[in-house]
Structures are given as C-alpha cells and as structure tokens.
C-alpha cells in the first residue's frame, strides 16, 4: 500500500496546478469562494478555456477529444480543481449526454452534437423527472407518438436544472405501453425552442431560480432525434448512471469548504477569543474531518480498484450518501459559525455586483441559504434512501 503519487503523477499535478493558476479567471474564482450565484456565461467562459487546453472532458475517450488520463490523473485533476475553487463543469452535456451518444448514438448524431458539447456552444438540460415520476422514474408519463418521420410529444418534465438556460434537453419519454413500465421508454432529444415547449421557473428554498418545470404540448420532434432504438431508453439511462462514479463524493470540494469554515471560525469571536478555540466548536469540525478522511480513503480504494482494471460495484451509492452527508454537515457548521449573522437575508447579496457593506462576517449572508439549499443534495441524483435500497439489495443481498 502506498499513498504517494509516482514522479509522473507529481509532475502532472504540478502542471495542472500551474495551469489553473494562470488560466482560471479570478472573478469566477472569487464567486465560487464566496458562494455568489453563477451565471451561464461563467460556466461557458471557463469550459471554453478548458476545452482549448483539451481538459474539459476528462471522461471522454481520446478518439473523441478526451485527454487520455488514467483514473489517478483524473482524480488529481479533480483535486487540484477543488483546491483552486474551480467551477465544476456542467455535467448535462459533457458528463451525461456525451457518453450516451458515444455508446448508443449514430455517426450523424455524434457529428451533430459532440463538438458543440465539447466547446460549450450548445447547452443541454436533463428532462427525466416528472411531477409523478421522481424516485420511481420508470413511471414517467410524457408521451411521444410516432407520426410519419416525427414524434409528437406531450407531457411535462420538472425539476429541470438550467432548463431556462438550455438550448436542448435530453429526455426519457414513453413511446409505448408495455407490461413492464421500464419497457416502452425511449431516449429523445428535444429542442427547447421548438414550438410547444415552455418553461416556468421553480424558486427554491434559498429564493433562487435554478430549476424549472418544462411543459411539452404537441411538440414535433424529428425521428432522427431518437437515441438508440425505441424502447431502449431505460437501459440507456441506467448505463449513464455508471459514469463518473468516483467524482460523486466531491472530496476536494469538501476539503476546501472545511478550510473556509476554519478561516471563518478563526475570524469570528466568542468569549473574547477566536471561535475556533472553543472546544465544542473545534470538536464539531474534527468530527466532520474524520468523516471526510474516511470518505477520501474509501474513494481512493475504489479508484485503485478501477486502476487495477476491476469493475466497481455499488460503491457509487456509498460515495453519494457519505459525500452528500459530509457536504450537508459542512454547510450546517458554516451557518452556525457566524451565529446570529446568518439571519440577514438579501437575495442580491448572492448575485454578482453586490456592493453593500456586509452585515457581520463578509461571507455570512450566503451561509444560511446554502445550508437550506444543500438539503437538495440528498434528494436529487437518486435520493439517499433510494441509494440505501440499492445497496441493501445489490451489496448485501437483502
């Protein structure tokens, strides 16, 4: 057992670090560090810089423009990005849709979509969930009926992150009624500006607009927008879940947040001393650090298995649950660190260009909204209850 990076890996680490120092835009870095709301343009700008360097899609095979990194290199990249407060690239096109197209798409589809995804010229959103199909995704009801060389799509998608930004949406739709609800689902690409598509904002607990409900009314979708064959949607969606499992835990980001927590706690005062010297507050930080330490090592063990060529099992569920629990615990402690000064709420504080004097600690205003908003992380991406169901079945055989 050896935790150290090889000389080549160390050289790579340095290369990534230097690149980020030189090319990661300072204004975006500040926004991420201070929890300021990000705009589409921030993502596009950063992703284009990464694309130019050839690093925007670490998970893609080389033939499609991936950098050809080993799993350890990908991990190092992720770690350095976390340490530099990098904006995480938006997953919908790069991480979710692109691998699906590579595996199930036609040459024409690859030709048509891949470059735009790589260069962030076309923005995708994910239209899976419906008002009555959340955890039980297979019960989705949005219907696509074949009429000549088109599908006519009717129904509604919801919780669509970035739906108001997106040019296109990849969806799961029902193309036929079968004995099992998993059958009869197809994977269809829909233009957001097609007639009959409309979105309405959903404001979340933090007062922000990131998610949407999308309405589909007699939307005409060309049959060439079908990915794979009709009725294969469920299989395709499931294969998508197998991607990028070691990055789910977000260990580097949590490390950075703990750093931030310690900094705030050393600047806040209690009983005439820095808060971080308060024994019980210190113990609470330590408890999270221990969780994170375990998570990082588990993550590395999974990585090591993958490097050795083993196919990982249901570890992604473990990483997702523990990862989100750690993130949520950090947001709670961040909020607690500023005491009463978490109370003032001003929506504009969370957006760029905010110039007023802060109330209390300069970062205080964002901490409560983030704590409440981050409750979502144990709900989306397969809720933590569903992840436990998966592990009970797949790992423990219960």
């Amino acid at each position: 057992m050896d935790l150290n990076y090889s000389p080549e890996e160390q050289a790579f680490q340095l290369e990534v670090r230097e690149f980020l120092q030189q090319h990661y835009p300072k204004d975006i870095q500040d926004k991420v560090a201070n929890g300021i709301a990000l705009k589409k343009d921030d993502y596009v700008r950063w992703q284009k810089i990464l694309a130019k360097q050839g690093w925007v899609a670490p998970g893609w095979p080389e033939q499609y423009g991936g950098p050809g990194w080993t799993p350890v290199q990908k991990y190092i990249f992720d770690e350095e990005c976390g340490a530099a407060n990098c904006l995480r690239t938006v997953a919908f096109g790069l991480v979710m849709l692109a691998p699906v197209l590579m595996k199930f798409g036609t040459d024409e589809q690859l030709e048509k979509y891949l470059a735009d995804i790589y260069n962030s010229d076309v923005w995708w959103c994910q239209g899976y969930s419906e008002p009555n199909a959340g955890s039980d995704l297979a019960s989705l009801q949005t219907k696509a009926e074949r009429q000549g060389d088109h599908y006519i799509v009717n129904g509604s998608k919801t919780w669509t992150t970035h739906g108001h930004y997106a040019d296109k949406m990849f969806t799961l739709v029902r193309t036929s009624q079968e004995d099992r609800k998993q059958k009869g689902i197809s994977f269809l690409l829909i233009d957001m500006d097609a007639p009959g598509v409309s979105t309405s904002p959903i404001v979340t607990i933090d007062g922000m607009h990131v998610v949407n409900q999308v309405f589909l009314e007699d939307v005409k979708v060309p049959v060439e927008n079908l990915v794979g064959v009709e009725g294969d949607g469920w299989t395709i969606a499931k294969s998508l879940l197998m991607h990028e499992r070691t990055y789910i835990a977000q260990v580097p980001r949590s490390k950075k947040q703990i750093e931030r927590l310690k900094k705030i706690a050393s600047e806040e005062r209690y009983n005439g001393k820095p808060l971080i010297e308060d024994a019980s507050f210190k113990a609470k930080i330590s408890a999270i650090e221990i969780e994170l330490m375990a998570l990082e090592m588990t993550n590395l063990r999974v990585l090591s298995k993958i490097s050795a060529g083993e196919a990982p099992g249901a570890e992604s569920s473990l990483l997702k649950i523990k990862g989100t629990e750690v993130q949520q615990a950090i947001t709670a402690l961040l909020m607690e660190s500023v005491g009463y000064f978490a109370f003032p709420y001003n929506k504009t504080t969370m957006t760029e260009g905010w110039q007023e004097d802060p109330i209390g600690h300069p970062q205080a205003a964002m901490l409560a909204p983030h704590y409440f908003d981050w409750r979502k992380s144990s709900i989306y991406g397969g809720s933590n209850e569903i992840q436990k169901n998966i592990m009970a079945k797949a790992v423990l055989g219960l």
Partner: protein, 376 residues
Amino acid sequence: MNLEFTEEMVMLQDSLNKFVQNEYDFETRQKISREGIGYKEANWQSFADMGLLGVPFDEQYGGFGFGQTGLIVVMEAMGKGLMLEPYLASVVLGGQLVQLAGSETQKEQLLPQLIGGELKLAFAYVERQARYNLSDVECRAESKGEGFVLNGSKSVVFNAETADKIIVAARTSGDTISQQGLSLFIVDPTAEGVTARHYETYDGLRASELNFDQVNLDADALLGTLDQAYPVIESVIDSAAAAICAEGVGVVSQLRQKTVEYLQTRKQFNQPIGNFQVLQHRAVDMFMAEEQMRSLSYLAAIKVTEGESHERIKSVSAAKVYLGDARAIVGEQAAQLHGGIGVTDELDVAHYVKRLGLLNTLFGDRDYHLQRFSQQ
C-alpha cells in the same frame, strides 16, 4: 400535580388557533412577509383586542397575569401560523424587561400602552463580537450631567424598524464580558445619533443593525438599577428562550402533520411512500421529538415562573438543546421526505424548516445551551 391547562388557557388557545385558521393561511402569510414592514398592523390591533398583548403582565397594568404559561400558549400558535407580528420583540422581551426592571412610573407609563397596542418595543442585546455571550457588551453609556451619553452598536435587533422605543443593554462600568456593570436604557429610535440598517431575515422576519453615536439620554431613560442589569437580562432572555421553545413545538407539530399527510398521499412505485418503513420510522422520530419538546417546553415554563435561577437555567437550556436537535430530526427530515417539493419556496414546508433553523440560533444555539446546562 396537574399538567393540564386551565380553562382560561384553553380558551386562549382556541381563539388563537381560530385566528391562525381564519387570518393566517400560508399565502396570506407570504404576502404579509414580503410587503412593507413585514407584518400586518391590523393583526397587531386584533392581538390587542384579543388581549394577547397583556398575557404576561400584571393585572394592575391592564394585563392578564397569565405569566409564562400564557406565553407558551401564544407562542405555540405563533409557530403553527409562522406568524410575523413582533410579539417576541415587543411583549416577551421588551414588555417583560419593563415589568421586571422598571420603576413604578415606567411601568405605568409603558405597560398599559403596550398592552393596548399603541406602543411597541424592541430589545437590542446582540453585538458583533459577542456571539451568544450576554455579558460581552462593548456598547457604552457614560454619565453626563443628570443623564447619559450612549455610543456603540447593536446587531440583529428584531423589529427595531417598527419599535417606538428600543431597550438597549449597555456597559456603564466594568470590563468587557464582565456581568457587573451592565445597564438597560430606553432609547428613542428617532433621537439624534441613532442610525439603523433594516433588513429581512431568511425566514421572513425583520431585524436591524443599530448604531449609537453620542446619543443623549435623560436620567429616566435608565431601566432598573445602574450596573445591575445582568440578572434581569438573563432571566428575560430565559423566558424568551422558553417561549421560542413553545414556538418550536408549534412549528414541529405542523411539520410532522404535513409530512405524515404527504407520506399518505404521495405515490411512487404504485403505493403511498408512507408504506416504506424507513420513512415511517423517520415520521415516528419526528413525532417523538415533538412530544419530548412539548414536555421540556412545559417544564421550562414552570421553572421560569417559579424555579430558582439554577433550575430555571437547566430546564430552559434543556428545552433549547431539544429545539436545536429538532432542526435535523424534524426540519431536515421534513424536507427530505417531501423530496424535491420540500426544498421549494412555494410549499409552506420550506418556510417552517427555515423558522426552525432560526429558532436554533436565537438566544444561543444547541452547543451553547448544552455547555450552559453542563456548567450548572
């Protein structure tokens, strides 16, 4: 022993529940919170008409003399309705400071007006460096002629914007953090040298940052004995902490009820999600937390009324620790069990969850009270 409410209390409870039902549905509440002063002046008058503003005060000033028991009845209803009116700031904090520390003249001047709804108070005690330590006070009042001159700042003063008078805790002697040397002053917010920055809190209440720059105070602005305010402050804050534990019970009972209803109606996998045992157990945990909180809230009410300070502190801090635990057991789980809809602004659940978060912090969070309990 009898742990039931008296008939008077039950009547109070009923009329409040009716008020919440008729005047305080969630949509109305949201509208009120977003507009103007953040609460409805007409509601405040209804409170006065219903006698709510006199609940804890002696009958000789026009109050009901219901004491802390009356307060927990009112505050539980405030929690159920997520009400926004400045009851905590004006009645529980401001009024009780006057009742406990004020001279006969001050009480006669202020309490009847307050009870009638013509006068509102606020209490400024938080400071930037103090966190939850009530004696960490840098704001100073120096003697000047017959009166005083006040300098310094106070933070997160609830409902200062609409208060006619603000009671300010200031240091008149002693070192920072010393419990000796604190005094209370009644300050007119329109006086020269008082500046304020008002804002919304994350759960829709209103608070302010206040600054005092050479504010001149008359001798009769002093509330209570010079230099000896700490025990008064601590006991009124304890009463208020016990009161918000009752408010927490109201919040938690709503969250539990709404979550159970959702578990019964939301269907996934062809069945109500309430069929899944893991979710049933979470709901039961919520229910147990609610019952235990109610018990500790009653105990704290009893001890605030009649206990010596040591017992009062233990029971109030115990109730407050439980209130802190409820943030996770009830608040976070209510959101979780609702799925995506639980973290949206449009559903009332998120707003109860936020109030519960705020109540944990207010008057000292779970860790603070655990420590305070252990030091008794």
